[in-house]
Symmetry: C2
Subunit: 326 residues, 2 copies
């Protein structure tokens, strides 16, 4: 039976929900349908597609052509990480603006570089000129014996995040102000990593009840976990691992907002039983921090618990997908 | 070992060749890499991606939104047919122009309709607004016990085509002249069918040495077969099944050119030993004609043998991908 996952708030998700409400439930080849980070097909195959569109997901003035390709591929690989899947291959569809302003070879080399970092290759794709902006669609194919979905969070569980958050969004905010971000901020945006090894290790240990990657921002992505699982999640302000470089470059409120709503971090957010994650062992093994950021309870929606004990409901928003004014 | 397929002439193919020349040869999960209609991965999985870009592959004034979606999906499914693969699922990435001029729901419903025609579903995808034209990228996933490639044509083989050719290109030519094509021409362009059943039947009978779908035009696509197989293919002018509606609407030379170079037919071209195809049985079973269009010999390139016995070399060209002036 196909499982269709409930999604959190957001206009894009409303549309997907509506469009796919009547997706066939009985197709044996589709085990997990629309709404999760990736589709799960028979034989444990996991497949995602991820669009990267110039002037929506990136600006060409912010990134080199090779970084554009690599970053688009990391976004696709990150979807596999969110399912606890091992990558098998990428495919790339690329619509390149007419004229010679984009170095298509460099873009493809960036995609190939991201694939090679995970021991896989670009197995095919499509290539066309376009009268519009540069568009990449990265298809990530992987496999998972036990794909992790978004709907397994249970009251009493703990919510965790890898890495630090908000640096990529801080870079975007600075570029939008006409300022050049510090190298650490720029690197967070331009050269993210997909947390494949971390995810697969967590899944092997059978400690993960639900998982998602932080592409849209912690608040929105945790909202998807909460909606899919039918629970409420409370994030604790003091526990959120706001990147220190983001704190240095922005006000405290802006830095927190970047971590909550900024997106583009490509870190993992996962949910476990209490006290099953060995924080020190994780950090020494992967060189990446892991932080408990909140907890799961009965109810719905996402809340932020402030340092003074007050609570506020988090609505999805912010600048998860940067977009110029229409 | 990964097999990388040689491609025929064309700038796009030169670029793909160059980009992917260094694709890893030793990845066990990729059995057929870039250059065929689709990639073949382990477990017999077959995957293709197919871009459909407004003002490159179609004009919105030519098609309804649902036809845009269905046609893009048929193009993807046709890649599976070319490999002799059974479809398992589609994924759809859709970049929609800002504003409300495109009915995104209708486009998605068109993709879903094409999937449903083959008993499969849209299992996922991505959706984004874009400052540019409507872009669809359809990912077609299928499986094949014996995927058919382009490189199996041998001297002495016969070359076959399904259906009739040139009607879709004739519709495009008429639209470009500001004329409205007859309904049969319009239907050929707007509502093609992927020849999945035909392809799978041919493959089950083990008669096919090489196969490709006619998306770029008979001359160009046969050129890919010839290049991949290291042979020459001669097409016989009098055998080419030029669609009668194309002959009615265009001059004889234009209609032949539409069949040879027009593309967008999504018929199959396949290569067999001599005298193994039962033409009458095929036509009565599928309601689609099948025609021997030429033969294979030692050498390279594609030739057209005229009715008077003269031969001319066919260069790839024509209006395989319709594109407005830059």
């Amino acid at each position: 039976m196909t499982r269709t996952i409930r999604m959190g708030a957001g206009g894009e998700f409303d549309l997907i929900r509506r469009l796919l409400a009547e997706a066939p439930e009985s197709l044996s080849s589709v085990l997990v349908g629309p709404g999760d980070d990736a589709a799960v097909l028979r034989d444990g195959w996991v497949v995602s597609t991820d669009l990267s569109i110039e002037d929506v997901h990136f600006r060409r003035s912010w990134l080199s052509d090779i970084e554009i390709g690599r970053r688009a591929a990391v976004a696709g690989l990150s979807d596999l990480a969110a399912m606890g899947a091992q990558p098998l291959a990428l495919l790339l569809s690329l619509a390149a603006p007419r004229g010679d302003t984009v170095d298509v070879e460099a873009v493809v080399r960036g995609v190939q570089a991201a694939a090679a970092e995970h021991g896989i290759a670009v197995a095919g794709g499509d290539l066309s000129r376009s009268p519009g902006p540069l568009v990449l669609d990265v298809v990530a194919l992987g496999c998972a014996d036990w794909p992790v979905q978004r709907d397994g969070a249970e009251p009493g569980d703990h919510v965790w995040g890898t890495g630090t958050l908000g640096a990529a969004a801080a870079a975007v905010r600075l570029w939008e102000r006409g300022e050049e971000p510090a190298s650490e901020l720029r690197a967070a945006y331009a050269t993210p990593r997909a947390r494949i090894a971390e995810a697969c290790c967590l899944v092997e240990r059978e400690v993960v009840d639900a998982m998602i990657d932080l592409s849209d921002g912690l608040a929105g992505d945790v909202g998807h976990l909460a909606a899919a699982s039918g629970v409420t999640i409370t994030l604790e302000e003091e526990r959120i691992p706001v990147a220190s470089a983001a704190k240095d470059a922005l006000t405290a409120g802006e830095a927190l907002s970047a971590a909550l709503h900024g997106g583009e971090d490509y870190e993992l957010c996962f949910v476990t039983d209490p006290d099953v994650v060995d924080v020190e062992e994780f950090e020494s093994r992967f060189g990446v921090p892991v932080t408990r950021v909140g907890s799961v309870a009965e109810g719905e929606g996402v809340w932020l618990e402030r340092a003074d004990g007050s609570r506020e409901r988090l609505e999805r928003g912010g600048f998860d997908h940067w977009a110029p004014p229409t």
